[in-house]
């Protein structure tokens, strides 16, 4: 049985349907990547899993439990944490407060503590007193990741964590991934950077227009197959 899975997941905003029957599954200790162009439904998928968008109960299962209809604050409590697209740090909180607030929903013991986050991203300790939003983009991303980790999640959802960052910064951030995996979190990364996704993921799902169009291990996927799945076969 998978740790986390979606089952024929449909979701949208009002009259606009963004997902049409998405099935993905995440096993314990696994890292999967969701790739696809803008508007493919990747962020909607993340928001549906995280409970920002509420669905029918059976559409999302976590540890065998139907959680599709639970609100975001309860999903965190179960052990699914999200690094939202655009980082979304709280402007009126300092760096340290931004990290601490991540522990609000779940006080369960685990590997991650404030100290361990500072060990992972030492720059944050230096800047812990300044407002989170005054940091550089890469440092803000570190805060957003730390904020999600501090709840000691079983599943970490990372939505577009490399978007808008310089390659060298992206490398630094992805360098933290092995330690996160080792600490016991299964990870879903949403990426537009296909190369990055292929490097870190055990399996890749490619999405287009609200559907998964291609799935497989990075080594099994040819460039052409990805290209077709990404832009449509006719392109």
């Amino acid at each position: 049985m998978s740790l986390l899975a979606t089952h024929d997941l449909t979701a949208g905003y009002g009259d606009f349907q963004a997902l049409f029957g998405v099935d993905i599954a995440l096993d314990e200790g696994e890292t999967i990547a969701i790739i696809g162009a803008n508007g493919a439904g990747k962020t909607t998928l993340m928001r549906s899993i995280a409970g920002v968008l509420r669905n029918a109960p059976q559409m999302v299962t976590f540890e065998g439990r139907q959680v599709g209809a639970l609100p975001a604050d309860e999903i965190v409590g179960l052990g699914i944490a999200m690094v939202p697209e655009g980082r979304k740090l709280f402007p009126s909180l300092s760096v340290e407060e931004n990290l601490l607030i991540g522990a609000h929903g779940r006080s369960g013991n685990g590997y991650w503590s404030l100290q361990r986050i500072y060990d992972l991203f030492p720059i944050l300790k230096e800047k812990r007193r300044v407002p989170g939003t005054s940091l550089s983009g890469g440092q803000q991303q570190m805060v957003a990741i730390g904020r999600a980790l501090i709840s000691n999640p079983r599943v970490l959802l990372c939505d577009e964590i490399s978007l808008g960052l310089a390659p060298v910064v992206i490398r630094d951030i992805y360098a933290a991934l092995p330690q996160i995996q080792e600490a016991g979190a299964a990870v879903i990364v949403v990426e537009q950077d296909i190369g990055q996704a292929m490097k870190v993921a055990d399996r890749v799902h490619c999405m287009m227009e609200g559907r998964v169009t291609l799935s497989g291990a990075p080594s099994d996927l040819s460039r052409d197959a990805i290209h077709n799945a990404y832009f449509g076969a006719a392109a």
Binding site: F90, E97, S151
Partner: protein, 287 residues
């Protein structure tokens, strides 16, 4: 010398207005909700204290301590059952609902307590004063002012030093992302309104002990509170105290010139500040 006395009285009166305003400021800061029933809730608190005093025959300060949890509960339920349902982009529903609440509260109090003026008796404290040479200050006004400072310090401590305050600020910044942290905005708002009601009870205690009150005086208190908040700059509690002092001094100075000008002078001071500094004296950097 009369002017020093007038200004000193005005500053102390500002403490009362800051107490009226602190709850309003707290709720607005966290959920952008302007509660038009705020003044009537203060009056409700005064009647509750009066009721406890007359039933148990105890000191008004003790009575206020008993009223506080009741008012907290009332605020919590009000937020959960009514106000949470109307929060959102559109400002009209919360305004109209709290306006309706204001009318309901006023008339429920009229029905329950009649239109007669009431007062919470505080014994010798009412008339006690301290002679400081140049000015003679009443003990009650000084106590009011000190309470305002204690309330502001306490609220700032909660806001900036506790996990609850962190949740308040995070939810105020971005409720959706806050929910990703495991925060339930609906509960955070309910607790915030509950705390605002505790402040309202403290304001009600002094309102009731310092002067006569009846069910219809709430809206005027709301206006003073609102003026103090705007003058201070939204979201700054110390600014709210300064705003209260400006209104208080304007009123006592106006009254010293012509007793009929007291209230008018306060409003005019507000309009003048608004003209010069539209965002108040201590505006928040971002909003």
């Amino acid at each position: 010398m009369i002017w020093i006395d007038t200004i000193a009285q005005g500053i102390l009166l500002g403490g009362l207005y800051a107490l009226f305003a602190a709850g309003l400021s707290l709720v607005f800061g966290i959920m952008r909700l302007v509660n038009l029933a705020h003044g009537d809730l203060i009056v409700l608190g005064a009647y509750l204290i009066l009721l406890v005093v007359s039933i148990l025959g105890i000191n008004p300060f003790l009575a206020a301590a008993i009223a506080m949890p009741v008012m907290f509960g009332f605020g919590w339920v009000l937020q959960r059952l009514v106000l949470n349902r109307v929060l959102g982009e559109d400002i009209l529903p919360p305004l109209l609902v709290t306006f309706g609440l204001s009318i309901v509260l006023q008339n429920a109090l009229l029905e329950g307590f009649t239109a007669d003026s009431q007062r919470v008796r505080a014994g010798p404290l009412e008339t006690a004063s301290v002679d400081l040479g140049a000015v003679t200050l009443g003990v009650m006004p000084m106590l009011t002012f000190a309470s305002a400072i204690v309330v502001i310090v306490a609220l700032n401590q909660i806001f900036y030093r506790t996990a609850l305050g962190r949740a308040f600020r995070a939810t105020s910044d971005d409720p959706v992302t806050a929910s990703l942290m495991g925060i339930k905005p609906a509960s955070v708002f309910a607790v915030a309104t509950g705390i605002a009601m505790i402040v309202v009870t403290i304001a009600a205690l002094y309102l009731g002990m310092r002067s006569n009150f009846d069910p219809t005086i709430g809206p005027a208190r709301l206006i003073y509170a609102f003026e103090a908040v705007i003058i201070g700059g939204l979201g700054s509690l110390w600014g709210t105290l300064v705003g209260g002092i400006i209104i208080g001094v304007a009123q006592t100075v106006g009254a010293a010139i012509n007793p009929e000008w007291q209230i008018l002078a306060g409003h005019v001071a507000f309009l003048v500040v608004l003209l010069i500094k539209p965002r108040g004296l201590f505006p928040r950097a971002y909003d």
